[in-house]
Symmetry: C2
Subunit: 348 residues, 2 copies
């Protein structure tokens, strides 16, 4: 067993604090990773505080993990000690169903295994995430990372990055397409960078005048204040694709009206309450409202390679793990540009 | 001008009764059609009674028209006197926008011209529909019909037929796919026939035990009582495509749960109130909720040719026009299998 230092919460109301536990010794196909950085995703907060229900305690959050391989099982062929690697939102899946065979493990029909707040496929061993100095993961769920990237700023690619990259690729975004990105937070700012790098005309929708200049700096061609009806009106029936990254309750209908015939709006934020959708908005121009969940392992590797080629990373604020509870409060206030990343050296 | 006998309503509360007016003499590209049969669509009732707002009176409803060409303009090359033809939901469009160029006139960006309860493209001449002995239509909006088909039963293909055929074709339904049809009325019964003819495994969802045997007779492989939760449960994550033909308020979420990953549910009924949609249902298997509106002229011709090859027509109850007000009441009570069709001989 591997004694592991980490930060955990013991219950829904508690702050995160130091926590020690043992990771399994590497099995034949396992990779041991010394964690360098771990991003802070809004879903960490929802789960730490049991806002989605069903949380498992103690909980070590974190699924935007970058580190260095420090050990490998006997059967591991794809990784060597010293490799720079990443782990995202899932650490296992059934590996047998059609979704797994198609490289879409996030939709595994047998049930994928989230990196934390879940049970392994044995049904009884809890998974612990990346707010930790080490993690042990099956090699099929480990990603290669170009060590020349800014590694702290690379960590959020493992969730915020792939969550926005995957739908842009699945809906075939490229030069000649007009793309809207709704919301400019951890997900939205990555959506802007990818849409721009894929060659699309990229328009950011935000409620904050103050985010305008930042959106343009990140690569947006235009910024629209979504509360400004006249401004919205000028974009009617003009978008091929709109990526909605907002998880707070909001009205999707004004955005559906901005889609062209056969256009698609895709939700990646997870509003917990049902949304009201006008059928007329869909019927009269054969529009679609869809959703997309992170991405598969193969596509996550493709995304990381794309980022290395295009020098794309996240905009981050690096913190020591001792500031994690304060960081949570700031995430809730949207007071971060655009992702907190924990420097795991601070654990020792 | 051509003096025309028809049935019209003079206001939202009135019954339909005899009405005479003049159709234009045929222009260069016009076809004059002696109407043989006209189907009764639920939307006729909504519009006659101004339930959607903006109705124009006097109103001659009817957009499921089958007749015989009795005259042609000098520039008409595609039709001859004596041809059996049809007219559906639209009689003109801008003919210049991308949608028109792609044969998707129903989505015309300049605004298509509905067959009745609308203005011609001049903005001032009202359009009058098919509850009439004659109609004059630009040849581009006239369809050829195989005279060997049962012509009364062919009339509903012009709206109920194309409305269900178009999405099944657009979403590429064929052998090997599992298709759900929600609702077994005028639209739904055509959806079953087309899905079956396209080779898909076809499952009908209905709330009425009494419709089970009819659904099977129409070609369904299975019938599911949608109120029966256990029965619904056995179909979880199994459908490639679900066509929702219901326009009354209803919950779409139980159907979204029946879709496979990447499956699509398409609305063709027009619920006037917003629907509640759970984002989780879309995100966790990349599902889509879409809408579809009738079909373009080219695809309507393709559908009519498909029907001639496969001997597909609608199940109809033929009535004289004097029974139209009674028929409306029966449509509202869903007391028709599955479409009323007016025999226009009854006008003379």
């Amino acid at each position: 067993m591997i004694l592991t230092k980490s930060y955990a919460t013991l219950g829904p109301k508690g702050n995160l604090g130091p926590f020690q536990f043992e990771r399994r010794s590497p099995r034949e196909n396992d990779v041991v990773i010394d964690i360098l950085y771990c991003g802070v995703c809004h879903s960490d907060i929802h789960q730490a505080r049991d806002e989605w229900g069903g949380s498992i305690y103690p909980m070590v959050p974190g699924h935007e993990i970058v580190g260095t391989v420090s050990g490998i099982g006997k059967g591991v062929s794809y990784f060597n000690v010293g490799d720079t690697v990443g782990v995202g939102c899932l650490v296992d899946s059934c590996r047998e169903c059609p979704s797994c065979h198609e490289g879409l493990e996030q939709y595994c029909e047998g049930g994928m295994v989230p990196t934390y707040n879940s049970m392994e496929r044995d049904g009884s061993t809890p998974t612990f995430g990346g707010y930790s100095n080490k993690i042990v993961v099956r090699e099929e769920f480990v990603l290669k990372i170009d060590p020349k990237l800014n590694l702290a700023a690379t960590a959020p690619l493992l969730c915020a990055g792939i969550t926005t990259y995957s739908p842009l690729r699945h809906w075939d975004i490229q030069k000649g397409k007009k793309v809207g990105i709704v919301g400019l937070g951890g997900l939205g700012h990555m959506g802007v960078k990818f849409s721009q790098a894929l060659g699309a005309e990229t328009v950011v929708f935000t409620t904050s005048e103050s985010k305008k200049s930042d959106a343009l700096r990140l690569g947006a061609n235009q910024v629209v204040l979504s509360k400004h009806e006249a401004e919205m009106q000028t974009h009617q029936n003009s978008f091929d694709f709109i990526l909605d990254t907002i998880s707070a309750p909001h009205d999707v209908n004004p955005y559906l009206q901005l889609l062209k015939r056969d256009g698609s709006m895709v939700l990646v934020g997870v509003p917990t309450k049902p949304m009201e959708v006008s059928a007329l908005n869909l019927i009269f121009s054969r529009k679609s409202l869809s959703g997309s969940l992170i991405g598969g392992i193969k596509e996550t590797q493709e995304m990381l390679d794309f980022c290395a080629r295009h020098q794309i990373v996240s905009d981050v604020e690096v913190i020591p793990i001792q500031k994690i509870n304060e960081a949570y409060e700031r995430v809730i206030r949207s007071d971060v540009k655009y992702r907190f990343v924990i420097d795991m050296k601070s654990l020792s």
